[in-house]
């Protein structure tokens, strides 16, 4: 972005970073320009959550979104993807709910192969440092779950399919 040539004031955008911490762990980090109390609300109220969790670029339509945010409560999201005829459901249970600093949930649509997701909301001078940590049961589960699998004969054409699958696998909270 060249601010000098832009006539529109563009708000500063925070950087999203992704790190593979180990064979079984993926960590996504981002600063949000609001205190944790507000960011936590956007993650835990279904009517707010569904406004941002599925950006248009994912190519998915959210059919329903139920979040019962309490320890042992279940969530269930149902999507439609143009590539599949049947809607896809993503579901799991909240293991920890500590407003406004921490959420932990399971991802159970893949049977026992789903990751445990931990999100922490850390206060940083009126902003929130968001850290999303996914722990998979195995290296293979991580690579399947996040769409990284691909071998020697993976061509750039196939990459598009991979990315579509990746978009689908991201469709869980």
């Amino acid at each position: 972005m060249d601010a000098g040539r832009s006539s529109q004031p563009s708000p500063t955008k925070n950087r999203t970073s992704v790190e593979r911490k180990s064979e079984r762990e993926l960590v996504v980090t981002r600063t949000i320009n609001a205190p944790p109390r507000i960011v936590f609300e956007a993650w835990t109220k279904a009517e707010l959550f569904q406004r941002w969790w599925v950006p248009k670029s994912f190519g998915l339509t959210l059919l329903s979104c139920e979040l019962d945010v309490r320890v042992g409560g279940v969530y269930r999201l149902v999507f439609r993807h143009p590539a599949t005829s049947e809607p896809m459901a993503f579901h799991g249970r909240y293991l920890e709910v500590t407003p406004p600093s921490r959420l932990v949930w399971t991802n159970e649509e893949a049977g026992g192969n789903g990751q445990i997701t931990t999100v922490t909301f850390e206060e940083r001078a009126d902003k929130t440092l968001l850290v999303m940590h996914d722990l998979y049961p195995s290296k293979e589960a991580l690579e399947e779950g996040s769409g990284s699998t691909g071998g020697m004969d993976e061509t750039f054409n196939q990459l598009d399919e991979l990315l579509a699958a990746l978009g689908a696998s991201l469709a869980r909270p």
């Binding site: 955008k13 925070n14 999203t16 970073s17 992704v18 593979r20 993926l26 996504v28 981002r30 949000i32 320009n33 609001a34 507000i38 960011v39 609300e41 956007a42 707010l48 406004r51 941002w52 969790w53 599925v54 950006p55 670029s57 994912f58 968001l130 996040s146 769409g147 990284s148 691909g150 071998g151 020697m152 993976e154 990459l159 991979l162 990315l163 990746l166 978009g167 991201l170």
Partner: protein, 120 residues
């Protein structure tokens, strides 16, 4: 990123420009093999085959592992490049999601300010 992929393709194409090396890849696509096996199949000296395998290994097309006295060759997965690509793609998807979260959060902040003024 584009440049990175481009450099990688150059190395791959250079590695694939040789008929023996293409044959070795085809062979390894069927089964892993030792350098000695490959040298015999392609009627080559051990040193000659080592050179070819070295070029393929540098391009990330083949990996080798030495167990005892035998060096076994198998098709490489170009793991690092692939991983860099899917991590970048994963990052972009999350970035799109967080951009939407920013909007929701701005709405909530605006609402709080309005509510705060009303209370005064």
């Amino acid at each position: 990123m584009v440049q990175y992929i481009g450099t990688h393709l150059d190395t791959s194409f250079a590695a694939l420009s040789d008929v023996t090396r293409r044959g070795v890849l085809e062979q390894l696509g069927r089964a892993d093999a030792s350098i000695t096996d490959l040298a015999e199949k392609f009627c080559m000296t051990l040193t000659g085959m080592k050179k070819h395998v070295g070029v393929l290994e540098q391009a990330g097309l083949v990996t080798t592992e030495k167990v005892g006295r035998v060096r076994t060759c198998k098709l490489g997965l170009r793991r690092l490049e692939e991983e860099a690509m899917w991590i970048e793609r994963y990052r972009q998807l999350w970035d799109a999601r967080f951009d939407e979260l920013d909007k929701v959060v701005e709405d909530l902040k605006r609402k709080e300010r309005v509510d705060g003024r009303r209370k005064k």
